[in-house]
Every structure is written in structure tokens, then in C-alpha cells.
Subunit: 335 residues, 2 copies
Amino acid sequence: MPLFIGVDIGGTKVLATAVSRSGRVLRTARRTTPGRRVEARLVEDALTEAVQEIAGIRRIGAIGIAAAGFVDAQGERVRFAPHLPWRDEGVRARLAERWSAPVVLDNDANCAARAELTYGAVGNASDALVVTMGTGIGGAVVLDGAVHRGHNGMAGEFGHMQVVPGGHDCECGGSGCWEQYASGNALVRHARARIGHQPTALDAACDGDPQRLTGPMVTTAAEAGDAVALDAFASVGEWLGVGIANLVAAFDPEIVVIGGGLSAAGDLLLEPAREALRESLVGAPHRTIPPVVRAALGPEAGAIGAAELARQTFRSAGTRARARRRAARGTAPRR
Amino acid sequence: MPLFIGVDIGGTKVLATAVSRSGRVLRTARRTTPGRRVEARLVEDALTEAVQEIAGIRRIGAIGIAAAGFVDAQGERVRFAPHLPWRDEGVRARLAERWSAPVVLDNDANCAARAELTYGAVGNASDALVVTMGTGIGGAVVLDGAVHRGHNGMAGEFGHMQVVPGGHDCECGGSGCWEQYASGNALVRHARARIGHQPTALDAACDGDPQRLTGPMVTTAAEAGDAVALDAFASVGEWLGVGIANLVAAFDPEIVVIGGGLSAAGDLLLEPAREALRESLVGAPHRTIPPVVRAALGPEAGAIGAAELARQTFRSAGTRARARRRAARGTAPRR
């Protein structure tokens, strides 16, 4: 069987995976992302090394790339990527040529949603929202059992919906964006503001320097019952629920899946979100409120979904080619 | 040809229409909605009278009902309607039995969107958002050339997305809902607050009593250049654009259609909305910003769309029945 490879490229790391037909990760390779102020070539070198480490001498069926940025509707170009050097570049064709292999390209949140849809928490639902809670918020829309990419390939940019007029400035150039209130960054900002004003285990965790505080430190402290850390989760969770209520009012999905690094906190994050959703959602007494569940696939979801996109796109071509070869040889398909 | 009838039932009036195959309104009948604190039977009597006036002795193909309320995903029940007496009632089957005719039921904003999709401003776009600006905000989501009704039939409730935390109280029980800032009610509230503080033609328009001010008065004054009225449109239009930017971030549609009574103000409303959309939309330099256009069909859109839903649902059944009759008679179809 040919190998289907998924590569997730974010602002800090490259994760390449070989993924089985049942969505299992067979093996992984990692590289550091060289940065965003470097030549695009250097980032593509890192991708190439990771893919070579995974593939070895095996025949490649296709390679999917999950990129942290805006990917056009055709899946050809990275239009813009805040943490990568690509600026409106035809990444798909260039890498396909360099690797002499079929390549597909999509946004990382769409890829993660595709993995959750095919193998994960979306389950049998045909319509779902997938909200990826990391440093910021990514997202994807699943409609009729497929990821809905939108007219520009930019559907699912939930993190930059404005929820507070004149609120916190956002890296996108706007202000009051949802991800300023519900994300890993928001969690750390909330907790950081309390350090020094209230006794908390976070003091020790960050060696007394609030600038060294990280999201996982807050999660660990919250799990141990620290009041400041719990309060930060209550705030971020409530904002998560308020934003979900807005999205549910608009889409009316069957399920809401929360992924990304912050979702590791589980019910610390999701319970306040569910409560805010119940309280904020229009027509709540007259409808089924969608369950808000944790993603099933963890940090490899983007790479798994990229491999799945590669498989969906090129499997049928491969199947037809094999059928032709079998027909030419006069042999029956193996089971 | 059998008649396809669309009936739009809102909080104040019932509008019944006979609609041609090309979406032209052939004739209309109107009744007053008896109220929301009356027996459901009285509302259904008003619907029946309007339908009878339209149909006369002609054979009815099917009747579509556009209801101002939450309609379930099956199109059977009105779950809740703030301005009508129906409370989780099986309206579709009851009226079909009373009228001895095929009946279909949907939310009024979905029907208006279906009309704009089939005959109006959606044009060739496959994905669109339709925002209905009346007293409040209604809405509908068009995906892949069809109205997307959602898991509970409640997709498109854009008016109750929260845009201002702790903002104006809303009839829905929430606060800070979009329709509190961008709607006919918001326009009147904005203008009303200035009367008596600033010279304005609205003084005379409402006979010096701000409580008598209406949306059309503000529109007329704005068209004549009145500063207070223009300022009200600038505010409502800007909020319209901010909310559209949120929806476009999430859905990435090809076009945004603005309907409802307030859309009669045209560019007075739409220009500030377009400007706010350009300024607020995430990734604006890296994407096509969807055009924001006025709906084409006016106040009859809901009824036209209800008739269209009836036609789409029952035409094929009728066509098959006629084909069977022709086959039995051995005649060819008439052109």
C-alpha cells in the first residue's frame, strides 16, 4: 500500500505523520519551524526533511499539508500566514514538484476538523462546529458531513469575530476579537493580572515572574484547585460559551467540538462554556442545545486530517490505476 | 395549471399570494393578524380567509406558509413565535387537514431567502447570507444553492448574536443582541434620543412626541438630508457592517443580501455597513470581500418564498401524477 502522509506546519514546529487507513498515526517526525522572517525556502526545507524521514524508501500515495494560515479556495496558495514566511505563494504546486508526489493543502483548523469528522468526536453528526483553542482560536464548519471551506477558503475564522466593542487590541489589527477573551493567551493574561494581588500557586510556578507564566502552568494549578487559576478558566470558559452561543444562533449545528491545546483542561474549560451556552443561546427552551465535547484526537489532529485529505483526494485515482493494472494482468482484487 | 400559494404570517398582518412559475406575484390578499393573546384558531381563521380569497374556485397545487417564529427541522411545528399564539403546535398538519391541500411550513426569513435565491438578489452565488432588517433582525444561510435550516430548523437567528456584553436588554431575554443595535427599532431609538437636543425635521414628523416616531419617518428625513436622521442611519449601518463582518469571518459567503423593511433606505443603510465590513473583516487584504446588496423582492419576499417551497416540494409529485394520467390516456404532454 502506498503511504499517505500528513504534515502540520505551525509557527513553532513541523509535525509529519504517516497515517493508516483507520486514522492511526503509524509514525511521526518533527522539525522546528525556522521562523517567519526567513526565506520561504528554509521552511520548505524543514517540511522536506520531515517528509523524507517519514517516507524513507516507501512509495508515497499523497502528502497533505495543514498550514497555519489562510489557504485559498482552490487549495493552491497560502494567501497569508502570520507566523510563516509565505505571502500569497503557490505552495502546493511548488512542493508537489519538489517532492515529485501528489500534494494537497488546507488550513490547519480545517484539517483538524476533517480528522475529528472522519475518526474523532464529530461522530455521526452531519453538521458541526469545531473550535480549536490554542494561543488563539481557530475553527472549522462541518456541513452535510464535509468541511465547508467558504468562498475564499476562509470560513471558520471564528477567533476574529468581535465580541467586545473597543476591547483588547488583536494581532489581526482589529479589537475586541473573541480570541482575546477565550484562548490560551486570554487564560494567561487573566491569571497574570492576579499574581501579586492574591495568594496563588502560580507565584511559584512562574518563579515570581508573571511574564514566564504559560497556559499549561495555569491548567496544572487549576487542576490542583488554585483559586486564581480556576477563576481564569471560569472567565475563559464563560467567554467560550458566549461565542459558541453566537455561532449556534447562526449555524444551529448538531454538536460543537473543542480542540487545540487548551482543550486538554477538559471540563475545567468546558463546564463554564456549557453553562454560558445554556444561558446565552436564543430560544434555548424551544430547541436541542448542542453538546459541547472535547476533541478526540489531540495535538496530531491537524496532521491526521491533512493525511486524510490526501487520501480522500488521491485514493480514488490510485484505486482506478490499480484496477486498470489488475485488468491488464487479469487478476482479481486482493482483500 | 394548479395554483401555488404562499402566505406570510407576521405579528401584524397576513399576506397571501398566488405566485407564477417565474416568481411573479399574480394576486394578493391581506388580513390583520388577530394578535398573540388569542386562540390559535382565530389566527388560522385569518389565514384561511386569505387563502380562500386567493384561490377562489381554482385547483390548489400546494400552499406554503412563512411564519414569524421558530419552525422545527421537519417543517411540522411552530415551536415558538413571540408575536403569534402558536406554542409548539403542529400547524402544518392541522392546516393541511382543514384546507384539504398539501401544506408546507418554514420560518419567514428562510422563505424570504428562498425567494431571493430563486428569483432575486442571490443570483448565481451558491453561498450567501440573507439578513432581514425589520423591527428586529431575521436571517438565513444559503449553502450550495439551498437554504440551510440547521439541526433544529433554527439556523440564521443572527439578530440574537451578542455584540455588546451587558448591552441593551433584548426581548429574547438576553442583552446586547445585534438587533438592539442594527434594526428598525435601533434606528428609532437612536433618533428619538436626539429629539429635543438638536434641531431636526423629526420634531415636526412626530408632532413633537418622540414616542410617535417610526422607522419610515427617519428614512424620509434622512433622504432629505436631516442630520439627526443621517446620524441614526450611520450608527445602524455601522453596526450592521460589524455584525456582517462577524458572520463573514465564520461563513465566508460569496454575497450578503440585505432585505426587510429597513432595506428600503438603500445606500443610506448599506454604505456605512460596507465601510464597517471593509474595516472590521479579518484578513481583508487577502480575500474577496463579499458585496453587500439590497434584496430584490421587497415586502412580498416571504410569501413568494413560501409559494416557491410549496412548488419545489409538490411540483414533482404533481408532475408524476400528471404523467401517469397522460400515460393512462395515451396523450403527449402539452407544451
